[in-house]
């Protein structure tokens, strides 16, 4: 088989998940090679895990079987890019950073908002169903997908959708596979809808004394000119800019024309001022980079003693849900840091143990309590050693029967990351 095969323990360590290290790792250089590798694995009754940059492998449960890792990082090239058509086709192992550079040269972008873009790949962000803050404005990463070339578990190569901005795909299999964490098919090639880069980007950071927090949140929720992201941050000092020992900060990102961003800034300052917030600092030159770096916080761990949770829901109750998780953390002797997304309604809470022992004894009871309070809460990042003991996917969806049948249809021999997905799929 004409694929790079890695067998040395050092190399294989890169693909370790939890305590499980694969027996082999492949790095195909073409879609045909990828298909051949998957076909052979399926025929041999082995199990494989697909890798992009490995940045979101903290998602999901550990695989029940794991013989082989297939890295798609060598499948990284622009297939076609026509800025005037508003589309780009690429091999899915391209990193998000590379995609950003290619598009920026033509004055375009695709808002993925995924962490660690220099390593993370387009295919990986899609497969993991990554959801970032700017989706409130631009839609989910999978909303930008116009077409995909998939490799199914048995090595079948199937193209779905197309390269046009509209047109039926029959069923949108590409979007169905996005978010399947590599359990339905491999995303090999993808065509994305691109957008013009905004004329102006500005990041506004306002330290929030605790007494101003709720009022500031209320004011931020009703701005006439909406920011593309509005986060209330507590903690995450290393990952998110603007920490200055106060209780928290508002982290607000604007994109648009010069005039609109200027007017939005004036409104923001006056609105936060009215909420008693002492100052709002503006960042223009590095706004996009600083915003992008903040995405790392969603999956960053504190040594081996933290777990990051995300509760999706309505923006109106994001603080209630987020504070519930913070209170529970406190009850179980854990520290907490939080990101409340006022536009999407995501409450992201990282719970941290002061020491490993405290963490090891408290995290499972906390996890149970968190899911009792907020059943749909999922785990974004957790140390491999405790992951098996956590309810990483939260309550099962009412569509579970259909999901199981989809898995049977697409991967009848359970070759693709068995047990990794919701309810043991």
């Amino acid at each position: 088989m004409a694929v790079a095969v890695r067998r040395s323990p050092l190399d294989l360590e890169r693909f370790a998940l939890g305590g499980a290290t694969p027996l082999r790792a492949y790095e195909p250089r073409s879609i045909d090679q990828l298909a051949a590798a998957m076909r052979a694995t399926d025929a041999a009754g082995e199990a494989l895990v697909l890798f992009g940059g490995g940045t979101l492998q903290g998602f999901g449960a550990l695989p029940a079987r794991y013989d082989l890792a297939i890295s798609l990082r060598r499948l990284a090239a622009t297939v076609s890019h026509e800025p005037r058509d508003g589309t780009i086709s690429l091999l899915a192992g391209m990193t998000l950073g590379q995609l950003e550079r290619v598009l920026a040269e033509a004055g375009r972008f695709v808002p993925f908002d995924a962490p660690r873009p220099l390593r993370g790949t387009v295919g990986g962000a899609l497969a993991a169903g990554w959801l970032g803050p700017r989706r409130a404005t631009y839609g989910r990463p999978s909303d930008h997908v116009l077409g995909t070339t998939l490799v199914l578990a048995d090595g079948t190569i199937a193209s779905t959708g197309g390269t046009t901005l509209r047109g039926s795909a029959g069923y949108d299999v590409g979007r169905l596979v996005a978010g399947s964490l590599g359990t339905l098919a491999a995303i090999a090639r993808v065509t994305l809808r691109t957008r013009p880069l905004p004329a102006r980007r500005r990041l506004a950071i306002a330290p929030l004394p605790e007494r101003t927090r709720t009022r500031a949140a209320r004011h931020l929720a009703v701005l006439a000119i909406e920011p593309t992201a509005a986060l209330l941050v507590r903690g995450f000092d290393a990952e998110i800019a603007g920490h200055d020992d106060l209780e928290g900060r508002a982290f607000v990102f604007f994109e648009g024309s010069e005039g609109t961003v200027e007017r939005a800034t004036r409104e923001l300052r006056s609105s936060l001022g009215a909420a008693g917030v002492p100052e709002t600092r503006l960042f223009d030159r590095d706004a996009a980079e600083t915003f992008a770096r903040a995405m790392d916080a969603y999956v960053a761990s504190v040594e081996e003693r933290s777990v990051t949770y995300r509760s999706l829901g309505r923006p109106s109750d994001v603080e209630t849900r987020g504070r519930r998780l913070e209170e529970l953390a406190h009850d179980y002797g854990l520290q907490s840091e939080s990101i409340f997304d006022l536009r999407t309604g995501d409450a992201v809470v990282r719970v941290v143990g002061n020491d490993e022992l405290r963490f090891a004894t408290a995290i499972v009871p906390f996890d149970d309590a968190a899911h009792d309070a907020l059943p749909a809460t999922i785990v974004l990042a957790a140390p491999a050693l405790v992951r098996e003991r956590l309810n990483v996917w939260g309550a099962p969806s009412p569509g579970l029967t259909v999901m199981r049948r989809l898995k049977e249809q697409f991967d009848p021999r359970a070759t693709l990351a068995p047990g990794r997905f919701v309810a043991g799929i």
Partner: protein, 457 residues
């Protein structure tokens, strides 16, 4: 179906006589769409709630009867037209806006509610719903979700798939499930939207709403030929516009654009461009359009004031209907090509219709590369019918050769299904079959749509 009478009795017993229509006039009225005649169902059923839909699914299975869910029948490709005798579900009674959550910009509606009725309700709260099919005054949200419709504003706001937050669905086995896009697991909504009623029956929708823009501007530009209009739209900053359409001379004449909109004689293509947003941005975009019309040799242009804007929308909404004045029948092709391929696609369309000696009108949504040529003819004239069929085939093939696709706004229905499946690799069709069999193993939901019947074992 020999057990038709028994089937009807069971339906009446389950839903009441008022909800089950079997008179011939009802069966005829519900069997076709605006342009596609269909097979008469055994019964038309008008449920009032999801539980009744679930009961109908159970009864249908007992009688091995197919079920076709139908909105207002405004589709142009036969998506809701039965291909086999069975049960036709109309959502005419399930047409309410159930709950509006303005703070979170969500609304819950029944599938029979029309797009514009929803628009009217949410507008009072300073909100609007992005997708706006041109038939939105009568088109239902259930039908729109089945076809992933979006209308001209798709250019800015995307189609239904980007606005559906949750669906209540009656599955193939009669189970009622509430699927939310935030659920952990496979994105089942992604498969359901645009599935033409073949994967499940939607009984309620939760939709994303947007804040009403501070300002909306509309500009008209008249051109001496279609190519010039196309070239102007390609030079426009389509991303700055909510919609960017071109109407050809046939439609302009049929609608009397010259009298109604003041378009000068000699106009053979009219560009209609809308921009929305913050006041300054909308004004800047409008100024850019005016400059563009000047630079691109427009014969004439004018800005449309707020008061007149609804009239222009009504004018455009009537575009396809107006061609009924040109000829008794028409075939509408629903195509999309890469934007930069639009001029070549237009030439192919012209060549095909000239060679087949067919008259045609054309609407283009230039922001997305959507071309909707309408071939007009008289069905009783066999030569004309054959010519339309051959021109349609040539146009569709040319569109595929340019990297294009079909079913832009109306799905495949019965019109485009074979063009899609003929041009599709078997592995792709097989992947679609796997999706269908996972959702609807009985294959009783709107059979003969999306996938060719021959693909069924």
């Amino acid at each position: 179906m020999e057990r038709s009478a028994e089937l009807c009795e069971r339906l009446v017993a389950a839903l009441g006589r008022e909800a089950v229509k079997t008179a011939i006039e009802d069966l005829v009225a519900y069997s076709g769409e605006a342009r596609q005649p269909g097979m008469q169902p055994v019964a038309v059923v008008l449920p009032s709630e999801a539980r009744e839909v679930s009961a109908v699914v159970g009864i249908a299975h007992e009688f091995a009867a197919p079920i076709v869910a139908r909105g207002a029948g405004t589709g142009l490709c036969g998506g809701a037209v039965p291909t086999r005798r069975g049960i036709l579900l109309s959502f005419a009674r399930m047409n309410r806006v159930l709950a509006l959550d303005a703070r979170n910009r969500r609304v819950r509606v029944q599938p029979g509610a029309t797009v514009r009725a929803l628009g009217a309700v949410v507008q009072e709260c300073g909100l609007f719903f992005g997708p706006d099919p041109s038939s939105g005054a009568v088109a239902t949200l259930g039908g729109s979700v089945a076809t992933n419709a979006g209308g001209p504003r798709t250019n800015a706001y995307g189609a239904m798939a980007e606005h559906v937050l949750a669906l209540e669905v009656v599955l193939d086995d009669g189970t009622i499930v509430e699927l939310d896009r935030d659920d952990a697991g496979y994105d089942l909504l992604a498969a359901l939207v645009g599935s033409e009623g073949t994967l499940g029956i939607v009984t309620a929708l939760e939709l994303r709403l947007l804040p009403l823009p501070a300002s909306t501007r509309l500009a008209l530009g008249a051109f001496a030929d279609f190519e010039r209009a196309l070239s102007a739209t390609l030079a426009a900053d389509a991303n700055a516009l909510t919609s960017l359409q071109i109407v050809d001379v046939t439609i302009l004449r049929a609608l009397d654009a010259y009298g109604r909109l003041g378009v000068p004689e000699g106009t053979r293509a009219l560009v209609v461009a809308e921009t929305s947003g913050e006041r300054d941005d909308a004004a800047a975009n409008e100024a850019a359009l005016v400059r563009l019309f000047g630079e691109r040799d427009a014969l004439w242009y004018r800005l449309v004031g707020d008061a007149e804007r609804p009239a222009v929308r009504t004018f455009l909404d009537a575009a396809f209907g107006a061609l009924g004045r040109v000829a008794p029948n028409s075939a509408i092709l629903d195509l999309c090509v890469p934007r930069t391929a639009m001029p070549e696609a237009f030439l192919s369309i012209e060549t095909a219709v000239r060679s087949a000696q067919v008259a045609f009108g054309m609407l283009v949504r230039a922001g997305e590369g959507v071309l909707q040529p309408v071939l007009t003819y008289n069905r009783r004239d066999r030569r004309a019918s054959e010519a339309v069929a051959s021109a349609s085939e040539a146009i569709t093939s040319a569109c595929f050769a340019l990297g294009g696709s079909v079913g832009a706004e109306h799905g495949f229905g019965s019109v485009h299904r074979s063009a899609f499946s003929d041009g599709c690799e078997s592995a792709t069709l097989d992947a679609l079959r796997r999706v269908r069999d996972a959702f609807a193993p009985s294959r009783a939901l709107n059979p003969g749509k999306i996938l060719p019947e021959a693909a069924w074992p």
